[in-house]
């Protein structure tokens, strides 16, 4: 931060003590000033909805003073397609299709949230094997999600290479997901009562092969970006969310854990078979973009660890409980949540005894991360704002719903 200002002193703009820009607050990098005597205006820049670093259709109105963000305002609704309303006309076993398209990169987690809610209402006992399959698929999907985030994080910082490496690994992951569920993205695999089909034969070998390769690849991924000095300089101290702020904004998932709050639904409120799994929850210290990066990288390693446990100890048994063809949960209200790749995905179902929910609320973690961005961006450079958007890992399908 001092380099740029030193340059200015040497060229003489500040040499005679005409103007002292003051010491910027710790952790905030300012664009070099020194021309405040000139009449300047704030510039309002419209960022998005078509913008390569807004990760979808995020639109931000950014008020700029030079390159420094003075004010940022998020505009939502460019992908609002009424998932909650449409759910009121879907059968209970078809809710998963909508959830797939909500957070479209981590579909299994969304499906699981709906399935858990319906199971709680109908008091269905899910077979142990089905619960293990769900955990394995969710962790495979978590790696796929984080890999996509890792690739775009590289793109946001101006590195194209990591994206290609990430997509290479993601493709081999999608092959496994496709062999199990039949689809690359919209799985519709987890249903109330279990999963829709048993694991195909000899998939274990494929998954083990992937895990073996991935455990070395993930270190490589980490080294490519986190070992890069430019990348470090761009992420260190950017977008600091302390624990208090994170809790106040209702952040969950890696964004919250990067701030040092030990909250992981897989540990705190274990669903499926997570109480039988051994894994660590990585935590950050300062809550800056670098911490959010490191937490996600470590989560990938932990996911790989869980997948290994799943294929080692996959129990025998049925893959689904006996459920009626048309699900008719009793009238009531239930909230079920899962730890998705981005945080807590919660489903609040209100039923009236019919074949479709009376009301479904979809709680997605990205919306809350997005609200925090508005408070984070002022004071930083616009390019740092892109880093913040990238490190918060926002999924617009989940924000607008």
């Amino acid at each position: 931060m001092s380099d740029a200002r030193d340059d200015i002193v040497t060229v003489g703009l500040l040499a005679e003590g005409m103007h002292d820009p003051g010491v910027p607050p710790a952790g905030i990098r300012r664009a070099p000033t020194g021309v405040d005597d000139l009449a300047t205006e704030h510039l309002i820049v419209n960022m998005g909805p078509q913008h390569p670093s807004t990760h979808g259709v995020l639109r931000m109105l950014v008020e700029l003073d030079g390159e420094e963000v003075k004010n940022a305002e998020v505009t939502l609704g460019y992908l609002h397609r009424g998932i909650e309303k449409l759910a009121e006309h879907r059968r209970f076993d078809a809710l998963g299709t909508l959830m797939d398209r909500g957070d479209y990169v981590s579909g299994i987690m969304g499906e699981t949230a709906v399935a858990l809610a319906v199971e709680q209402l109908m008091e269905i006992e899910v077979p142990r094997r089905a619960r293990w399959i769900r955990v394995m698929m969710a962790e495979l999907n978590r790696i796929a999600t984080h890999l996509l985030w890792y690739g775009t994080m590289g793109l946001d910082t101006g590195a194209m290479g990591p994206f290609l490496y990430a997509m290479r690994d993601r493709e081999s992951l999608l092959d496994i997901l496709e062999a199990v569920s039949g689809a690359r993205m919209m799985f519709n695999y987890v249903r109330p009562g279990g999963v829709v089909a048993d694991l195909p034969v000899s998939i274990e070998a494929k998954i083990r092969e992937f895990c073996d390769a991935f455990d070395t690849y993930v270190d490589e991924h980490d080294a490519i970006l986190a070992g890069n000095e430019i990348f470090q300089a761009r992420l260190d101290g950017i977008g600091v969310i302390d624990a208090e702020m994170a809790l106040a904004f209702g952040l969950t998932g890696p964004n919250l854990r990067a701030s040092g709050v030990d909250f992981d639904l897989r540990k705190r409120r274990p669903y499926d078979a997570y109480d039988e799994m051994i894994f660590d929850v990585p935590l950050g210290v300062t809550g800056d973009a670098m911490d959010r990066f490191s937490v996600r990288m470590e989560e990938m390693r932990q996911s790989s660890r869980i997948i290994r446990q799943c294929i080692e100890g996959m129990p025998e048994g049925g893959y689904t409980a006996k459920v009626p063809k048309v699900l008719k949960p009793p009238a009531g209200e239930v909230y079920a949540s899962v730890e998705s790749a981005r945080g807590e995905v919660g489903i609040h179902l209100v039923t009236d005894g019919g074949t479709s929910p009376y009301r479904m609320h979809y709680h997605g973690p990205s919306l809350y991360a997005l609200q925090a961005l508005e408070d984070l961006m002022p004071g930083y450079l616009l390019a740092d704002g892109c880093i913040m958007i990238g490190s918060a890992d926002i999924m617009l399908g989940e924000v607008d719903r």
Binding site: H80, G82, M167, M185
Partner: protein, 167 residues
């Protein structure tokens, strides 16, 4: 057009200018990187990834509509987004083509019952190729580009045939 057979020493190529432009256009169909929803992951990101590697057939993303030839509408277009899609389309230089990727962009897809969702992007901008699927695989997008190439070439050939007839 087998160019490799024509490129020797002292070789000459007689070609109509329209066909020459078509040759260039069909082999460098740059698309605007404008992912709306789920399809963007398959049609724009996996597509530029190492396995499918659209780059090898000259299909590459540009971040500005002014440098793009093709717009892949990858996702659900709702009423709020429709204006933006239209504006981006109008910012693209002619000739320009549109690929409606997936069920949502073609007809509204699984969300068509919702009043906020536009029932197919062809209500907003003209579409050249539709790709079915939810989401279509990257191979389908590749196929769509092959079809688009045929369509681009066919237009010139039609025009030439009409001119021959007139003369």
């Amino acid at each position: 057009m087998a160019l490799d057979r024509l490129t020797g020493e002292n070789s000459l190529l007689f070609i109509r200018s329209e066909q020459l432009f078509d040759l260039a256009r069909t082999n460098s169909l740059w698309y605007i990187s404008f992912g709306i929803a789920c399809c963007a992951i398959e049609g724009l990101m996996s597509a530029s990834g190492p396995r499918f590697d659209f780059d090898r057939s000259g299909v590459f993303f540009r971040n500005s509509p002014r440098q793009a030839d093709v717009m892949i509408v990858a996702g659900t277009v709702n009423v709020k987004m429709a204006d933006t899609v239209r504006r981006l389309y109008e910012q693209m230089p002619e000739p320009r083509w549109v690929v409606a990727m997936g069920a949502c962009a073609s007809t509204g897809g699984p969300f068509r019952e919702y009043p906020n969702v536009v029932m197919g992007v062809d209500k907003v901008i003209p579409v050249d190729v539709y790709i079915p699927g939810c989401p279509p695989r990257p191979e389908s997008v590749q196929y769509a580009f092959i079809e688009l190439r045929k369509k681009i070439r066919a237009k010139t050939e039609e025009r030439l045939a009409a001119r021959r007839e007139r003369d």
